[in-house]
Assembly symmetry: C2
Homo-oligomer: 224 residues x 2
């Protein structure tokens, strides 16, 4: 679709199609170079629109990426839920592995998870923040249900803590595991920096296995 066609579209269906192309361009650019370095101008150029025209569809680049984060939550929730439904008795290690594998396979989502509270939620209207929060809340519901079915020792609060830990760690570990090329080369060249090289999936699986195991062991409460 070129800029002239964009200008002609007026119907709700045409508007919906434009929004979808804008989101798809942002998704592709974010996957390619990390969302941190994708500007609104880049997205507009990729979709063949002027930046001012794009601003009729979305308020800011942060709104676009926050919508992709909400969409990522929904898609990940479905993938994780299906995987756990297919395993009748995964145990703590199987549940941890399911979280780790489904998150590590979604680089763009991990990138978005790290940016959402830091930058994305901070440059959009309150309505956008509200919709985003309600969307992520809805995506947690089926995850909570299947996790508690598979691990009956976990309460509502433990399951909430588990999801929060998984997404916070996935976001942080993915950022650490995906440095700029020259920093990655530095890590490989200096043996003292070997600890800086991180593999997301095995480390996340290991940590979450410990966390879930502890949650199912009737852990002592932290002192007040």
């Amino acid at each position: 679709m070129n800029a002239a066609e964009f200008q002609r579209a007026r119907s709700p269906e045409a508007k919906r199609l434009r929004e979808a192309s804008i989101l798809e361009a942002a998704r592709a650019l974010g996957r390619e170079r990390g969302i941190r370095s994708v500007t609104l101008t880049d997205i507009a150029a990729a979709v063949g629109m002027h930046k001012s025209a794009l601003l009729r569809y979305f308020e800011t680049r942060e709104e676009i990426f926050l919508l992709l984060t909400a969409e990522g939550w929904q898609e990940w929730s479905q993938a994780l839920t299906e995987r756990l439904r297919a395993e009748p008795d995964p145990g703590p290690a199987g549940v941890a592995q399911a979280f780790a594998a489904t998150l590590a396979a979604r680089g763009l989502f991990c990138d978005l998870l790290a940016h959402a509270p830091l930058t994305l939620e901070r440059n959009v209207s309150l309505d956008v923040v509200r919709d985003f929060k309600l969307g992520t809340l809805a995506a947690r519901v089926p995850i909570t249900a299947v996790v508690r079915e598979r691990l009956p020792a976990l309460g509502e609060r433990e399951t909430g803590d588990l999801i929060a830990t998984a997404v916070a760690l996935a976001g942080a570990l993915w950022q650490i595991a995906t440095p700029p090329a020259e920093v990655a080369a530095l890590y490989r060249s200096d043996p003292r920096l070997a600890h800086a090289v991180v593999e997301v999936e095995p480390r996340l699986a290991r940590i979450l296995t410990a966390t879930i195991t502890g949650m199912t062991h009737g852990q002592p409460q932290p002192r007040p």
Copy 2:
């Protein structure tokens, strides 16, 4: 110190003093409004220098904040280590509480922890990244030693995972717990968003207690 005095200073000692005032200004501004919104121009103004003069001391705002992050690691390491040395038998919950309390008491450090891999490490020279990584590595050494003394069941790798989990969660939870004022008001006003209100210390203590408990229980390994 005013701009004229700054321009006269030439000795290594004067240079050191200037660097210290620049870092102190960045620290104060970061504490006040969150490091995300502090620019190099803000720091220069607070310290009474021109931005161009400030650039003779530091390459970028990211270098300044990365130095503060390294300093934060060292200071936190000392506080945590002292606290754990003073408790002869803390158990998993006591160790978790020591991590949670010392991190939650350091808002600026939590803010820096979240930004370091996302933005700070990405706009500085390789020498600055190398020094930063070696600094954080050194700060982990005494923490690892005292944790393994207090919890002999933890190996080197588990202790490394524990420290990584603690700092990643502290960074993420602090960001979530410290939204802009109008977003905080939204959370309080809509009961469906009650889950968005997070208290860093108790939640971090609870999750880390579970993680350490699981690590000390000879957890099953995640499946390959």
